[in-house]
């Protein structure tokens, strides 16, 4: 059963029947994590790099921002028995419109925020498909951790 993760949304599950999927990642980033021993998977779709923008909105919608969303993704998976050192991490998105520079380039800023947070927490990225100007769809099967990536205009590849 497909569980859709919308913009500024997150789902974590240990139900093997579930497939977590997030559609149409533009400059937003999707991050999928999976522990194959605990069989726990999670998927976050965040939109902006930094919750400094509006703390009260970040409390209401923590999955909107990288710095409030990513820690919650991991913590929720830990609550279901996942362990950091067994986690496979896949990221996709962070695209940009052509000729976009400086503060408008939110795709690139999202990538930087993501890498910073993961690095600070000693989490390695196993697979990344980021940047460029394509839309991406990311899916994760909770049963076996198989992840699928669909880039706009192309077929789905299994990661």
């Amino acid at each position: 059963m497909n569980i859709v993760v919308g913009v500024a949304d997150m789902k974590v599950s240990n139900d093997p029947e579930k497939v977590l999927v997030t559609y149409s990642l533009g400059s937003c980033i999707g991050i999928a994590i999976y522990d194959s021993v605990a069989r726990v998977g999670g998927l976050l779709h965040f939109m902006l790099p930094d919750s400094e923008l509006d703390q009260s909105k970040a409390r209401r919608r923590p999955f909107m921002f990288a710095d409030t969303g990513i820690p919650r993704l991991f913590k929720t998976a830990y609550e279901l028995g996942a362990k950091k050192n067994r986690m496979r991490v896949i990221v996709a998105g962070g695209a940009q419109v052509l000729d976009q520079h400086g503060f408008f380039n939110i795709g690139q800023r999202n990538q930087a925020a993501l890498r910073n947070i993961l690095q600070r927490n000693n989490v390695m990225i196993d697979y990344a498909h980021v940047g460029g100007s394509a839309n991406r769809t990311l899916r994760l099967a909770v049963r076996d951790g198989r992840a699928g990536l669909k880039v706009s205009g192309q077929g789905e590849q299994i990661l």
């Binding site: 500024a8 559609y23 149409s24 503060f103 939110i106 795709g107 839309n135 706009s152 205009g153």
Partner: protein, 282 residues
């Protein structure tokens, strides 16, 4: 290569915009017109009245009590908002179909158009611009050309995508290169055929290159920015992805800050459930 005349002839296959829309736009542009004039025109058209009340009573407008008449809706929401709602429901039928050429499922083009129109209105209010209805309508119809060009893009997908993936062309430039015309130009021609104002035609034609707009440049920049925001947020995004040019110089002239831009995205994301209900209505 498909004959350009064949493509242009297909504009006639679009569902005609109902007469009531032109009447409403005329009322809105006439400084002497009143709420009563607007109410009369809408009330004479049963379908438009029903669509207006359905949308005005949706969760998006969050009214404590349901509107029962056109007059009531105009008094509470204001003329501009009511005109926007009527335009919304009359545009949906041309934008709801799937567009294989652009990798859009049924409803995607409509979702993108409506989101872009709502974001445009937000931006125009932030910038205190006078003609937010012109901006709203133009944003709503800016991609109407995709509804005509979609089948031709599909037939030439490989060639168009190869040009885009080559890295130095936008999707629009690739359309023009392979098919001889792009969706913005075709959309402007449809707007002309429907006798929309020259300003609206100008905005639709140049929404990817706002610096080329001659009649309504600042309005075109706003539509360009709202389109960019929708692409970034992936709202109704298709196989053309984010492969369009961004006119940073023109956008910077609007004077919006980094924070302004992000707040628009956050506010929109917060309302997304209500907006989905509005999308589903039409």
């Amino acid at each position: 290569m498909t004959d350009l005349r064949t493509i242009i002839k297909d504009i006639a296959k679009l569902k005609p915009i109902p007469q009531v829309v032109n009447k409403i736009l005329a009322i809105q542009q006439d400084p002497d017109s009143s709420m009563e004039d607007l109410a009369r025109v809408i009330s004479h058209d049963a379908i438009t009245t029903a669509n207006l009340l359905r949308a005005a009573n949706s969760a998006y407008y969050a009214r404590p009590k349901a509107f029962e008449s056109v007059q009531q809706a105009i008094v509470y929401l204001g003329m501009d908002e009511v005109v926007d709602i009527v335009l919304m429901s009359s545009s949906a039928k041309n934008l709801k179909h799937p567009q294989k050429g652009y990798g859009l499922k049924a409803g995607d083009l409509w979702r993108n158009s409506l989101a872009s129109a709502l974001i445009s209105r937000e931006l125009s209010q932030k910038l205190n611009m006078a003609n937010s209805h012109l901006i709203f309508t133009s944003a709503l119809l800016k991609d109407i050309g995709k509804a005509v060009l979609g089948q031709y893009v599909w037939a030439s997908t490989k060639d168009i995508c190869a040009l885009v993936e080559g890295g130095d062309r936008s999707f629009q430039e690739a359309e023009k290169n392979i098919l001889g015309i792009d969706h913005a130009e075709l959309g402007a021609m449809a707007a002309e055929a429907w006798q929309f104002s020259p300003e609206m035609v100008d905005i639709i034609r140049h929404h990817h290159q706002p610096a080329n707009a001659a009649l309504a440049r600042q309005e075109t920049v706003v539509v360009h920015l709202s389109d960019t925001i929708c692409m970034m947020m992936g709202i109704g995004g298709g196989s053309d992805g984010l492969a369009y040019r961004f006119d940073q110089t023109m956008i910077e002239k609007l004077g919006l800050s980094d924070e302004d831009l992000q707040v628009v995205m956050v506010d929109f994301a917060e309302k997304i459930d209500e907006i989905e209900q509005l999308i589903a209505l039409n």
